[in-house]
Structure formats: C-alpha cells, structure tokens
Symmetry: C2
Subunit: 357 residues, 2 copies
C-alpha cells in the first residue's frame, strides 16, 4: 500500500490533533477539518489503512487512533524537512527569533564568568519556557589545550594547583605531597610545568614529554610525577562531564507520564544524571545533519526509562570543537515545532556568548 497525498494529510491531521489534546482522535473529528472534505466514513477507511501500515493504533477497539512511534517519526522528519527547505519561513523565523535573542542576550551576558551558573540558568529558563524537563551538559574539555598551570602552597605538604584551559575552563585541585617544598623550588616547578605543558592537549601530554620533565626535575622527580598525574587526572576526569537539569517536575503536567512508577524512573534518571551522558556521547559522534538537532522518539532514546518520552537534543559549540549538549525531555506528544525553535535560539545564543568570551 502506498502513502498517498490524502493519507499523509489525514495522518498529519491526526497527529497534530493528538499533540494538542492528548486524547485519541476519532474519524468524526478529522472529517471536520476544512481542507479535506470527506465524511467520517471515508476517513475511517483511510484510518484502517494507516493502522495497517503501522502509523497509528487504537488503544482499544472502540476508541480513536493515536500515533505510533513510526507515526511520530514520520511527522518529525517531515517537519524537519519543511524547516530545511522553506526559505520564506526561515526568514520569518530569523525575525521572530531576533526578539528572543535580545532578551536572552541581556540575561546571559550577566553571568558569563561562571560557566556553571550560566548553564544552570539556561536549563532553568528553558524548562520554564517550554514546560518540559531539560538537561544541559557542560562543554567537553577533551582535546582542549592547557593555557597555564599555577601552583601555590597551602600548607607545608599541600599544594593548590589551578589549571586553566583554553576557553577559560578552570579547575582547582589540592595535591597532598610527600615531601616539603621551598618557595624557590615551587617557583621552579611552576616554570617547568608551564614551559613543558602549556599549549598541549591531553592527548599530547604523552609519556615522552612527561619523562623528559621528570628528568629535568632532578631530585623532585617524585613530586613532578604527582603533580602531572593530578593535572592529567583533573583534565581527563570522567566526571568533568557535568550535566545540569531543571524542570523535572514538569513531567507531572502530562498525565501519560505522571503515573507514579514512570515519573519515579524518569525523575531518577534526571537526578542521577549518569544515564543522560549517553545523549551527550551520541551527539559527539553525530555528523550534525540538521544543524545538530536530534529527535529521539520513545525507544530511540538510549535511556530505558525514557521509552514513553521524546527527547530533542541540540549541540552548541564553544570553540576548537568543544561541544556541549542541550536536551529537552517531554511526552511523545510534545510540541516538536516549538521545541526545535527554542533549541535553535539557545544554540545560536550560546555559540555567541562563548565565542565572545
């Protein structure tokens, strides 16, 4: 059977209606749509076809139809294609977005110096704006270059290492050392570290460079080892992958998600954050097809507990290919159109903020 023009129209009408109401939609409802003058009986026949083709199902025999994941997928793909091609639309959107951009910019520029807070506010604002749950991952440091290291003495056997990466990503690390260290030697060590490591990415801090440093350090070999280890560990540390979430309780606004066991699992995933890293990883591998926007419907998501949700993600770029991910988690019947637009706005905005920094 073929998905002819009329079937497409009906399918879209069904999904659109379902997105709005959340109720199964019957043939009579669709037959009232102005632009296709068909009786409910005809619609019913078409619906039967669409069901056979797997785009819609009935929750039970005498109920209206609701979209399947395949149906949603068709709808979303079509929408994305529309956005890609429709140039007139695009210009309109740019104009529309300009307003948001402005207010957003004012809002963001106030807190540029604290990336953590910035991303948390983005998550929060987006959640409030969309009424869905949100996640924002901090940009991945991997592959980024070291700007400088600064060692200072805290106590006789404690050293504070301040590590600054390109893009002003800053990490602090307290290192407990086994031997005491004079001011003079600390200075030397500082110089040694900076001349040897500055401008290198994690990958480039390989064995030969490190062993060379250790030789230069002479009697403080052991200490250098400890510090370099700490630096490497700090930069590469898996849990650098911070994820900020917000609006978890928004899911209670959607009855199909608020039953206690589903809600519990979902909120757990958002609180625990571990599983959310899967989305970030997926984004990293991705070849950026739709300006970096991805839609996961139901089981397409890499997270088990989100099988009843849809997730829309976007990537933003810091610089040098450092990327972060923004995600919106909502019911399958989320307002994809609006969500995609919001994400595009934030994306542009974040790119902007970070490039300026």
């Amino acid at each position: 059977m073929e998905l002819d023009d009329r079937k497409v129209k009906i399918l879209k009408a069904i999904i659109k209606n379902y997105l709005e109401t959340g109720e199964p939609v019957g043939s009579r409802t669709i037959s009232k749509y102005a632009d296709l003058k068909l009786s409910s009986a005809t619609i019913r026949n078409e619906m039967a076809d669409l069901e056979e083709m797997g785009y819609i199902v009935q929750p039970h025999t005498s109920a209206g139809r609701i979209p399947t994941d395949k149906g949603y997928r068709f709808y979303v793909d079509d929408m994305m294609l529309q956005k890609e091609n429709d140039l007139v639309n695009r210009e309109q959107l740019v104009a529309d977005r300009e307003k948001e951009l402005k207010s957003m910019r004012d809002f963001l520029s106030q807190k540029v110096d604290r990336v953590e807070e910035l991303l948390q506010s983005v998550a929060k604002a987006l959640a409030k704006d969309t009424n869905y749950a949100t996640m924002v991952s901090a940009p991945q440091v991997r592959g980024n270059k070291l700007k400088f290291v600064q060692l200072s003495q805290l106590e006789t056997n404690e050293i504070l290492a301040v590590i600054v990466m390109e893009g002003n990503v800053i990490r602090n690390k307290v290192i407990t050392v086994s031997e005491e260290l004079s001011q003079e030697n600390l200075l030397k060590l500082n110089i040694l570290l900076n001349t040897s490591l500055t401008g290198l990415s994690l990958q480039e801090m390989n064995l030969s460079i490190v062993s060379k440093m250790e030789i230069q350090a002479g009697e403080h070999m052991q200490l250098v080892k400890e510090v370099v280890d700490a630096v490497v560990e700090t930069i590469s540390s898996e849990d650098n992958l911070k994820i900020y979430t917000s609006g978890a309780t928004n899911i209670f606004k959607y009855p199909e998600l608020s039953d206690s066991s589903k809600a519990s699992e979902l909120i757990y995933a958002l609180e625990e954050k571990q599983s959310l890293t899967d989305f970030v990883k997926l984004e990293e591998d991705e070849e950026q097809p739709n300006s970096g926007i991805q839609v996961y419907i139901g089981n397409e998501a890499p997270v088990e507990s989100m099988k009843d949700c849809s997730v829309v993600t976007a990537t933003y770029e810091l610089q040098d290919g450092m990327r972060g991910t923004i995600g919106i988690i909502g019911p399958k019947r989320m307002d994809y159109d609006k969500v995609v637009e919001k994400l595009k706005t934030i994306q542009t905005q974040l790119d902007d903020v970070f490039k300026k920094t």
Copy 2:
C-alpha cells in the same frame, strides 16, 4: 485530663505500630500487646481520651487511629530524651556505630579534596541508606578568613582571581578589567592584596582598609577597586550557599506522599533548593540543644510543601564556627530512631574529615 502512664504506653504503642505498617491502628491490635493486659474495649476508652487530647485522630468514623502532629511530637521528644539519658544504650550505640564509622571513613577519605563531590556523595549515600530524600548544605563561608588571593593574567583585559579561604574553600573568579596591566604591576597588585587582606574575614574588610589599599595602589586605584569588589562579592555571594540533594525519588516509596500533586511539590522543592535554605538558616540560629539535631514534623517545617513530611536535620562543623546542615526528608511515619542515629554517625564523621583536612 492527664496523660497518665497507661495512656503513654498506649499512645506509644499506637504510634510505633503505625510507623511500621502505615495503616490506621485499631483497639484490637493494641490489646494484643503483651505488656499491657487490657481488652480492646478498655483500649477503646483510652483511645477516645487520647483523641480528645489531640494526640491521635480517626481518618473516618469507623477506622483505627493515626497519630496527629502533636502525637508524633510527643513520640519524638520522648525518644530524644531517652537517648540523652540512657547511658547504657549510648555505649551500645557507640559500639554499633563504630562499624559504620569505619566503612564510612574509608569511603569519605578518598575524596576529601573535592568538597563538592564529598558532600554530594554524603547526600547520595545517606539517601540510599535510609530510603528517604536527603539534603546537605555546604559549610557557610561567612565569617571565615581569607588565606590568600592569587591573580593571574588570562588575556590582556582578563584576570583570573583564585581566592582561598581557611579550610581550603576555593573560589575562582574571572575579572574583566578596563585597563591593561603589565606583569610587573600584576605582581605588585598581588602583593598589595595579600598583605592587606590575608587573615581578614569578610566583616573585617571594611571601608578604611579598602580605601587605604586604593591609595597605595596609586594610579591603579580603579583596578584595585574592581578586584576587591570581585573578591568581596565572591566571598559574600549569597549563592555560595550550595545545597546538594539526593534520593528525591525515594518519596515514591511512601504512598501517602506519592500522589502526583504532593510528589510534584516536594520534588520541586528539592530540585529548586531555594526553599531548603530556610532549614540551614534555622540551624544557624539554633543553640544546639540535642547535639544539633532537630526534628520538624509537618507544619513545623518552614517549607509549605513539606507539610505532609517530617524533616530531621543535623549540623556539622568545619572549623571556626563554619557550619553546614544535613537534612533527611521523609514521611511523618519515618523511622526517627534510625534516622537520628544515621545523622549522628555522619555528623561525627564529617566533623572528623574536615578537622583532619
């Protein structure tokens, strides 16, 4: 009417039973208790009295009784008194706790150098252990003394200030300055800042000291102003009050809290965190009566959305009166005894970890 010995026994039996089952408890259930040989009819009479006195209520006419907030309050106060006085019990507990302390110590000592992670793990472990929701506030920096400041150049017009407080509380701040700065001047500024401000608490960085510094800075007066402002702002910044939460989804384990609107409000409070600061503030004012452990039952809590919960909080000390708060949020019928013990354990443990650092 007076709360005589027998009434107390019956009341305690009712509450204890209700804590275990979560079901309204009837007169027959209590009459089976071995240590008070009374028929259900007698119990019924006593129950009627207890109800009149406001310790228990019936959810509906022909149901068993459940404790009121007043009832819980009596139960908890009695328990705390017991713990205070019962020395034998206490020794037993110390022995019991020793085991936990050991495993806990191993666990904590691994991540001492990252306070943030440490506190987050405490929240997590405690939530897993108790099956309630938990919160842990970072120790308040207010009143703490500055150890040193370190300025480094990031870009021509950007300076990184690393601010270290007593207790190795570290803050980073990127300051955008209006004038360019030579290496030499940066060094001078560093010295000026440290000689003037080191060892001072926020309260002591008053106007006279700052203006004195500004004079010394000569032509860089404007810059000093900016830096000092940044330092002060960073130290005093209200949002230094970080709160870590965990186990929010544990509330779904208790039917009386899992109805969607209650759960939503509760989880929102835990996610938003703003309202949780009220507990921290209350603790600060508190004169530490029961080794710093407080129990809030229902409306006693300063947070509206927790009117159906109980909250148990404890304070831990870092040093110099820097205090943080640990809280456990659960249903009114939580296992107060266990929770108080757990909190005491963690309290000791954290005191320990921080004092050692």
